[in-house]
C-alpha cells in the first residue's frame, strides 16, 4: 500500500529526512518511535502533502501511484489521513460544518452522493458515541479552545468519520488521559481490516499495548535505523535510545 524509498526531505534549507525507507502492506499497523526532533512529524507531514517541505530525493508510492505528485486534498480523497500532533484551531467554522464539508469532498471524489445535514448528524453522533465524545463539540468552532486531549479526540473523530485507507497518527496519544487512550485505541482498532493500514507515531509503549503493531520502527537522524516487533517498543521504554545510537555509530546496518 505504502512504499517509501530513499526519501530525502528538507525544510528551510535543512535536511530532515535522509534516506528513509518504509514499506507498509494493507492490514498492517506500524509504530514509529524516535527521539524528539528525529523527523517523525516531518515524515507525517511529507506524506500528507505539507507544501513547506521539499522532497529532494526518493519516492513514495501509494497503491502504486506517485503520492508526492498529488496535492494534499487529493491524497486525502484517495484515503490518506493525518491526525495532527498539533491540530489547528479554526475560529468561525463549526466542527460539524467542517466535518461535513470534508466528508462530502471525499464522497464527491468517489462519485457518491453528498450527505445532507440530517444524515450527517446521525452518522457523526454514532462515531462520537464510539469514542465517547460529547455532542456539544459539534457546534463549537473547530478545535478552538479545546483542551489538548479534546483536540486529539477530535482528530480521532474525523478519522472514524472519513474512514481512511492509510491513517497516520502523529502522537495522538500525547495529552490523553488513561481512559481516553483506551477509547482512542478502540477507535483505531475498529478501523483495522485487511484493507486499512495505520502508521502510529508515538513516544510511549502504552498506546501500543492496546494497538499492538505488526512492526515497530525506530526513526533517528531522518532514517529508519531499526525495525522489530512489539518487544522493541518495550526495550526502548526501558532503556531509551542510547543503545541504538551506539549500534548505528558502530556501523550496524539499519534493520
Amino acid at each position: 500500500m505504502l512504499e517509501i524509498r530513499n526519501l530525502h526531505a528538507e525544510i528551510g534549507g535543512k535536511e530532515i529526512l535522509r534516506g528513509l525507507d518504509l514499506h507498509v502492506r494493507p492490514g498492517e499497523v506500524h509504530a514509529i518511535m524516535g527521539p524528539n526532533g528525529s523527523g517523525k512529524s516531518t515524515l507525517a507531514n511529507v506524506l500528507a502533502g505539507q507544501p513547506d517541505y521539499e522532497v529532494t530525493a526518493g519516492e513514495v508510492l501509494y497503491h502504486g501511484k506517485n503520492l508526492l505528485e498529488m496535492p494534499a486534498e487529493e491524497r486525502a480523497r484517495e484515503g490518506v489521513f493525518l491526525a495532527f500532533q498539533y491540530p489547528v484551531e479554526i475560529p468561525g467554522i463549526t466542527n460539524a460544518y467542517f466535518m461535513r464539508t470534508s466528508l462530502n469532498a471525499q464522497r464527491k471524489h468517489r462519485g457518491e452522493e453528498e450527505i445532507d445535514a440530517v444524515d450527517f448528524l446521525s452518522l457523526v453522533r454514532e462515531k462520537m458515541k464510539l469514542i465517547e465524545m460529547d455532542e456539544k463539540f459539534l457546534n463549537r468552532s473547530v478545535n478552538e479552545g479545546f483542551s489538548g486531549g479534546e483536540k486529539k479526540r477530535n482528530e480521532v473523530l474525523q478519522m472514524a468519520l472519513l474512514d481512511p485507507m492509510l491513517a497516520i497518527l502523529d502522537e495522538t496519544d500525547s495529552g490523553l488521559d488513561i481512559d481516553a487512550l483506551r477509547i482512542v485505541a478502540n477507535g483505531v482498532n475498529t478501523l483495522r481490516s485487511e484493507k486499512h493500514a495505520v502508521l502510529v507515531i508515538t513516544h510511549y509503549q502504552r498506546l501500543l499495548s492496546y494497538l499492538v503493531p505488526d512492526v515497530t520502527h525506530v526513526l533517528m537522524g531522518g532514517r529508519i535505523v531499526k525495525s522489530g516487533d512489539r518487544s522493541l517498543a518495550e526495550k526502548l521504554e526501558e532503556s531509551g535510545y542510547g543503545w541504538i545510537e551506539e549500534e548505528v555509530a558502530k556501523g550496524g546496518a539499519p534493520a
Binding site: 500528507a48 502533502g49 505539507q50 507544501p51 496535492p71 494534499a72 486534498e73 491524497r75 486525502a76 480523497r77 489521513f81 493525518l82 495532527f84 491540530p87 489547528v88 484551531e89 479554526i90 475560529p91 468561525g92 467554522i93 467542517f98 466535518m99 464539508t101 470534508s102 469532498a105 471525499q106 471524489h109 468552532s141 474525523q158 472519513l162
Partner: protein, 441 residues
C-alpha cells in the same frame, strides 16, 4: 475653465430649489440656505483634511453628474424587487428610486399601531412642526461638507417614527435603488428615525445598483434613540464598482438605550461611511459592527466616532475587512470621552484579511479620553489567510479554493453571526463564501 464639483452642486441647488420639499417652511428654507452657504465655503472634502487623507474625491470634480427632480423619476417595473427583497426576507418594504420614495413599489401593509413609516417629503408637508425638532439636529453642515450638500439638496427619504413602547417585530427594509444614466445621476436621500422611549425595531438600509454605471449617492441617516429604546440598523451596500457611495449615520442615544449598527459594505467603487454615535445619557450602549469586502480597485472607508458624553456608557466596535485585488480599506475609529464621563467601557477592534499583496489597509484608532475612570481597549491587525489552517482543511480533502473560501467565511463570522435577521445573515454568509473568484486561487 470647466465647471468643478462645487459649482456643479450649487447649480443643482439652483435647478431644484423650486421643487425641493419644504419651500413653504421658513425653518427648512433657512436650514437649506445655511447649508448651501456652508457647502459654498467648504466645497468637497480634499485629502488636505486629516479625516480625508486616504479618500480622494477628485474624480467627482470632472464627472458631469446631473440632479434628478422627483417628478422626473420614471416607473420601475416591480420585478426588479424580487432579488433585493430576498436578501432581507419578510419585511415592511419602502422603496426609493433615485432618492425618491416610490409608494407603488413599497409594501407597508399591516404596520402595527404606533409605527409610522413614510416619505420624508410627505411628512414635511403633513407634520412640519414635528420634523423641525429632529431634522438636521445631529449632523452639522459646518463640520461636514457632505452633510451641507445633503441638507441643501435632499428631496426625500424615509421617516420612521416609533411611538413609546412600540415594538416592530418584522424588520423595515429601506431599499434605495438608483438608476444609471448619461450623464450619471447624483442623489442625496435623507432618512430620519425617531424611536421614542422603550420602542424597538430593526431597520435595513439597502443600497443597490441597478446597472454597473457611475452614479453618486450622498445619503444621511439620523437616528434618535430615546430612553430604553433599542434600534438595530443594518446598512447593506451592494453598489456598482464604479459608484460613489458617500454615507453618514448620526445617532443620539438617551438613557439606557441600545443601538447596534451593522455595516455590510459588500460592493461599491468608492465608499465612505461616517458613523457618529453620541451616548448622551447614562446607561446608553452602542455596538458598531462592520464588514467590508472591496475587490479589484474598490475603495471602502469607514470613519467612526463614538462620543461618550455621559458616565456609565459603553461602546463596542468590531470592524472586519476582507480585501482582494488592489482594493483599499480604511478604518478610522475615534473614541471621545468627555471629562465628566466616568465609568466608561470603550472597546474597538479592527481586523483585516489581505488576500492579495496589492491590497492595502489603513487603520487607525484615535482616542481622546479626558476622564480617568475609563476602560478602553483597541486593537488593529492586518494579516493573510492562516497557512496552517489552509493545510489542515486540505488534508481533509477540501480543495484549496474551497478551503480559502471557508477561511474567509470564518473570518467574517464574528460580524455576520451578530446580524439580527436570519435571512440577511445567510445572504451575507453566502456572499462571503462565494466571494473569492475561483480563478484567483
Amino acid at each position: 475653465m470647466s465647471e468643478g464639483a462645487r459649482e456643479r452642486f450649487l447649480r443643482h441647488f439652483e435647478e431644484l430649489q423650486a421643487v425641493l420639499p419644504g419651500s413653504d417652511q421658513p425653518w427648512l428654507v433657512r436650514m437649506r440656505e445655511s447649508a448651501v452657504q456652508s457647502f459654498r465655503d467648504q466645497g468637497l472634502p480634499t485629502p488636505k483634511l486629516e479625516d480625508w487623507r486616504f479618500t480622494n474625491l477628485k474624480a467627482l470634480e470632472t464627472l458631469d453628474f446631473r440632479a434628478v427632480a422627483a417628478s422626473s423619476v420614471p416607473n420601475v417595473p416591480d420585478n426588479v424587487l424580487d432579488g433585493p427583497r430576498g436578501a432581507v426576507g419578510d419585511a415592511h418594504l419602502i422603496v426609493l428610486v433615485d432618492g425618491i420614495v416610490d409608494a407603488a413599489l413599497s409594501d407597508l401593509k399591516s404596520l402595527p399601531d404606533g409605527v409610522q413609516i413614510r416619505s420624508l417629503a410627505a411628512s414635511i408637508t403633513t407634520e412640519p412642526e414635528k420634523l423641525e425638532n429632529y431634522l438636521g439636529k445631529l449632523d452639522d453642515p459646518k463640520l461636514r461638507a457632505l452633510s451641507a450638500l445633503n441638507q441643501a439638496l435632499f428631496q426625500d427619504g424615509v421617516f420612521i417614527e416609533l411611538e413609546a413602547h412600540a415594538v416592530l417585530e418584522r424588520p423595515v427594509h429601506i431599499l434605495c435603488l438608483q438608476r444609471s444614466g448619461d450623464p450619471p445621476t447624483a442623489v442625496h436621500p435623507r432618512n430620519l428615525i425617531v424611536a421614542h422611549a422603550g420602542s424597538s425595531a430593526t431597520i435595513v438600509e439597502h443600497h443597490l445598483r441597478m446597472s454597473p454605471t457611475q452614479a453618486l449617492v450622498n445619503t444621511v441617516t439620523e437616528v434618535f434613540v430615546e430612553e430604553g429604546a433599542h434600534i438595530e440598523h443594518i446598512k447593506l451596500q451592494e453598489e456598482s464598482d464604479s459608484a460613489f457611495h458617500l454615507a453618514a449615520l448620526f445617532v443620539k442615544q438617551a438613557r439606557d438605550s441600545r443601538f447596534r449598527s451593522h455595516s455590510l459594505a459588500l460592493d461599491g467603487g468608492l465608499t465612505r461611511f461616517d458613523i457618529h454615535a453620541v451616548l448622551a445619557e447614562p446607561g446608553a450602549e452602542c455596538r458598531l459592527n462592520g464588514l467590508y469586502a472591496p475587490q479589484n480597485d474598490e475603495h471602502i472607508d469607514h470613519h467612526t466616532t463614538v462620543e461618550h458624553a455621559a458616565p456609565h456608557t459603553n461602546s463596542f466596535e468590531l470592524y472586519k475587512g476582507i480585501l482582494d485585488g488592489s482594493a483599499k480599506g480604511i478604518f478610522h475609529g475615534r473614541i471621545h470621552v468627555r471629562p465628566d464621563a466616568q465609568k466608561i467601557n470603550a472597546m474597538q477592534t479592527n481586523r483585516n484579511l489581505l488576500l492579495s499583496d496589492r491590497a492595502s489597509v489603513n487603520t487607525k484608532p484615535q482616542l481622546e479620553i479626558y476622564a480617568d475612570d475609563v476602560r478602553c481597549s483597541h486593537g488593529a491587525a492586518i494579516g493573510q489567510l492562516d497557512e496552517d489552517a489552509l493545510f489542515y482543511l486540505r488534508t481533509r480533502g477540501i480543495d484549496a479554493a474551497e478551503a480559502k473560501s471557508l477561511l474567509t467565511f470564518a473570518f467574517a463570522n464574528e460580524v455576520t453571526a451578530e446580524l439580527p435577521i436570519d435571512t440577511l445573515r445567510r445572504y451575507t454568509e453566502s456572499f462571503v463564501m462565494d466571494w473569492l473568484p475561483r480563478s484567483n486561487v
